[in-house]
């Protein structure tokens, strides 16, 4: 199938913690639970490794959505990492919203290693949301396009 040029193909970066969500994505894979190829996963040891800088950089480079997945609160492999991530992301997302960036472009979802189905549905939902929002123009750095 030739993808039409006019069709919007979002760029979506998914940061997944190694212990739960990356494994959840693996399970989605081995269970053949499809989600759009627009999603590209970056493996991080823990959701608390994700620096707001990474997220802004992704947007700067033309990402249309960024999602962070980690272990469920209480189940962090490092005990407390996702609690810090939760605070950081809450504040960051609120700030982006305050700056007028569409608040559906960022999301945090807790996905355990056993939740392949949840991983897949989350990604499908998120990609649908990004389709709804269209291309990211507010955060993109035009110089980086090309």
């Amino acid at each position: 199938m030739q993808v039409e040029n006019t069709e919007f193909r979002p760029k979506i970066v998914a940061f997944c913690c190694n212990w739960c969500s990356y494994a959840g994505a693996d399970l989605a894979g081995s269970s053949r639970l499809a989600y759009p190829a627009d999603v590209k996963i970056i493996r991080v040891p823990c959701s608390c490794r994700v620096n707001p800088m990474f997220i802004l950089r992704a947007f700067q480079r033309g990402a249309d959505g960024v999602i962070l997945c980690g272990c469920h609160p209480g189940d962090c492999h490092y005990t407390t990492g996702n609690y810090y991530a939760r605070r950081r992301m809450t504040l960051l997302f609120s700030m982006l919203d305050y700056l007028g960036v569409e608040n559906g472009r960022t999301r945090v979802e807790w996905v355990s290693a056993a939740e392949g189905v949840k991983f897949s549905t989350t990604m499908n939902e998120f990609v649908a949301k990004i389709h709804e929002l269209g291309e990211n123009v507010r955060l993109e750095d035009l110089r980086c396009k090309g």
Binding site: P73, Y83, L91, L92, S94, G100, N103, D141
Partner: protein, 325 residues
């Protein structure tokens, strides 16, 4: 003011302190600047009035490396910054002698200019009135009209840390004045498009002079992450808007939970960008999500970003609460 100079002289004379950090008269009467005073002689240029807006806390990082103790004059809101720096091990309390000075609000010279008063030779503060001798003759304006934005919502007249107080307000316990989140709330009530347009306009004015960074007592890194080669962010030309957004978002994020809301960033911005509105947004969110927190009110509590509770709100609250509340 004379009392301050006298006391400074005494402390220099009896060897309690080796130098004094205060404000030196400028050329115009409304442009004093931070300065060290090593002797009685130098102290004749010392000044303290409503134009001494500069927060001296951050200078104490360097002062900690000097020989001997340093006497520093801190206004009530400056003491929050100093406390925060103690918490972060950046200043040396043992090498500091703090005189807490009273403050009736500090002024913004631009407002005087905007009021059409130019060619100023001297300024005197007479109660609620500012009196000017200008080359065009005597002029005056209400004191309140020249106040810095930050001082209109003063967070209180109490000093958080000091060795002695001189000229402190009698109503020390009086609480904050005004609602400091009013402007933030106004922005929050706008549509995302309006907010985006607002910030686009504001942040595009940025010339990356780094004045905000240099003055900010929380932005006290020895070497800024934006000067690091790790992030490929170091000192770029301002060819597109994102760089500024990124810089200011990250800057605000890095001081979130540490910013005392001293307002120095907006005071020094040559482009008049209301940078404090970024910091205050974080403060407002922190207060509403995690409970009231005032950075610098103490020296040992955990900041909101180095703390958590099991029941913290989920990031999705940003979507579900709707609007920008």
């Amino acid at each position: 003011m004379q009392g301050l100079i006298e006391r400074a002289k005494e402390l220099l004379a009896d060897g309690t302190v080796a130098q004094v950090l205060g404000w030196r008269k400028g050329d115009m009467g409304y442009d004093p600047e931070p300065a060290y005073f090593k002797s009685e002689e130098e102290l004749k240029d010392f000044v303290y009035d409503a134009f001494c807006g500069a927060n001296l806390s951050k200078y104490m990082i360097e002062a900690a490396k000097l020989e001997g103790k340093t006497l520093v004059f801190l206004k009530p809101c400056d003491t929050y910054s100093f406390n925060q720096l103690i918490k972060e091990h950046r200043v040396d309390r043992d090498k500091t002698y703090i005189i807490g000075v009273g403050c009736q609000g500090t002024l913004k010279p631009e407002k005087i200019r905007e009021a059409g008063i130019k060619g100023i030779e001297t300024v005197t503060i007479d109660g609620d009135t500012l009196k000017f001798d200008t080359i065009y003759g005597a002029k005056e304006m209400p004191f309140a009209d020249a106040l810095l934005e930050r001082c209109k919502v003063c967070k209180g007249k109490k000093h958080m840390v000091y060795d002695e107080l001189i000229g402190a307000a009698e109503d020390e316990e009086a609480g904050p004045v005004g609602n400091r989140f009013e402007e933030v709330e106004k922005l929050e009530a706008m549509s995302p498009e309006e907010r985006f347009a607002f910030w686009q306009e504001q942040l595009s004015k940025c010339i990356r002079c780094n004045a905000c960074r240099n003055v900010c007592p929380a932005c006290s890194c020895r070497k800024c992450v934006f000067d690091s080669n790790q992030y490929d962010t170091s000192q770029k030309a301002n060819a597109a808007t994102f760089e500024e957004q990124m810089f200011h978002i990250i800057r605000a994020f890095h001081v979130a939970g540490r910013c005392t809301d001293c307002g120095e960033c907006s005071r020094v911005c040559p482009q008049g960008i209301p940078l404090h509105l970024l910091n205050r947004k974080f403060i407002k969110d922190i207060d509403s999500f995690y409970g009231e927190y005032q950075a610098g009110a103490d020296t040992d509590s955990r900041g909101p970003l180095t703390n958590f509770t099991f029941e913290d709100v989920e990031p999705s609250i940003v979507q579900t609460r709707g609007g920008g509340h």
